[in-house]
Assembly symmetry: C2
Homo-oligomer: 221 residues x 2
């Protein structure tokens, strides 16, 4: 059986889960307390991070390289477009979310509020939370601006860029940190992606000690 | 003329410069004080980061997506191998250096010692420098371990993984933060990659206020 070692509120794990589900690759999800640095887990991934995917005898780490690999061996349905220019735009946006959005927003809101508590690192730093709450507005506006011009984030088709973005936003939505009234196009896009079968397991996630808002799993939010 | 907006001691810019040079794509290098957030520059890249590449009418940002794009439109010489499994290993290592090595080492040594001064952010944080000096040993040992088994970092051929690693190490070497005596295999690998014509412009870099050690540009270091 294929296995994904993950934690529920990790945008990097969620991106891989969305790819796996969209490509109909069955996996067993295993929660991994990666911060405890269990020796078995470190053998699987010396980087000591999730996600780690066991797939057909291989042990794979690093979320974007995993998604690129899945795309190469399970090309249907495609999550990268055909032309080099369109593929570039998808990869640029994946990097935008996993690097810039991650450092300016996800790490400052989600990690301060949730990860610190779960991993026993104390209380949220209020300056970070404030900076994250300010930065998320710029990012939601940027996404709204893209989606005013495009059906999906990187163009006419759903791609890995949409999964990267939805992975971050869905984690933040779990802790009520997304203002969906900021852009109609953004809200429509999230409703579309949320209603895909690939999203179901993410909407069912439960993290002890953190109750999601009622709209989190509601397809008509 | 194609143009790369960059700063000399950025591992992300150096990775792209190595790819461009290896593929013999001529470019004009333009130093960009990205932290000053010039409006013209923000129009080119709203992420406000270097590298930004102007190539054949396109404006490209995010270093790994740029390298993937270059690989697709200029496949010769190849910097990604043919099989999905081997390509995965290259991409995993690129992520290793640009994410883990970057956050544990580059940001704690180079950014504390050089970037803070250049961008007027004050003095190095000694706790960060200490943490970086400790972490670099683990990383050099990991590279040495890989290179005891492989000719190049990801296998039998030179790939983007070698360029990602050499981009970080060459920046650290500029400020004398690499102990080349830690692994014979690692030193041999760096001598090999340093002697490539693609490396010449990197060895000629000069950053005002920071004099590189004599061995920095020496091919027989």
């Amino acid at each position: 059986m294929n296995r994904l070692f993950h934690v529920p509120l990790s945008p990097f794990c969620r991106k891989v889960r969305l790819c796996l589900a969209e490509k109909k690759i069955e996996i067993e999800l295993i929660e991994e307390r990666y911060w405890e640095q269990d020796p078995d887990f470190l053998r699987r991934n010396p980087a000591a991070k999730v996600p780690v995917l066991r797939l057909g005898g291989m042990t794979l780490a690093e979320s974007t390289p995993i998604c690129e690999y899945l795309e190469e061996i399970y090309p249907d349905p495609p999550l990268l477009p055909g032309s080099p220019e369109a593929r570039f735009e998808v990869r640029r946006l994946v990097s935008w979310f996993d690097d810039k959005f991650h450092s300016e927003v996800t790490s400052k809101l989600l990690y301060e509020r949730v990860n610190k508590k779960i991993t026993g690192q104390g209380y949220p730093d209020s300056a970070n939370v404030k900076a994250g709450a300010k930065a998320v507005k710029f990012h939601l506006d940027y996404m709204g601006w893209l989606l005013d011009q495009r059906r999906w984030l990187a163009g006419d088709h759903m791609t890995l860029a949409d999964f990267a973005a939805a992975a971050h936003l869905s984690c933040l939505d779990y802790i009520s940190d997304v203002d969906w009234n900021r852009s109609e196009s953004l809200k429509d896009w999230y409703a579309k992606i949320k209603s895909r079968p690939a999203f179901r397991s993410i909407l069912a996630d439960q993290v002890p000690g953190f109750l999601p808002p009622r709209h989190y799993a509601d397809l008509d939010f």
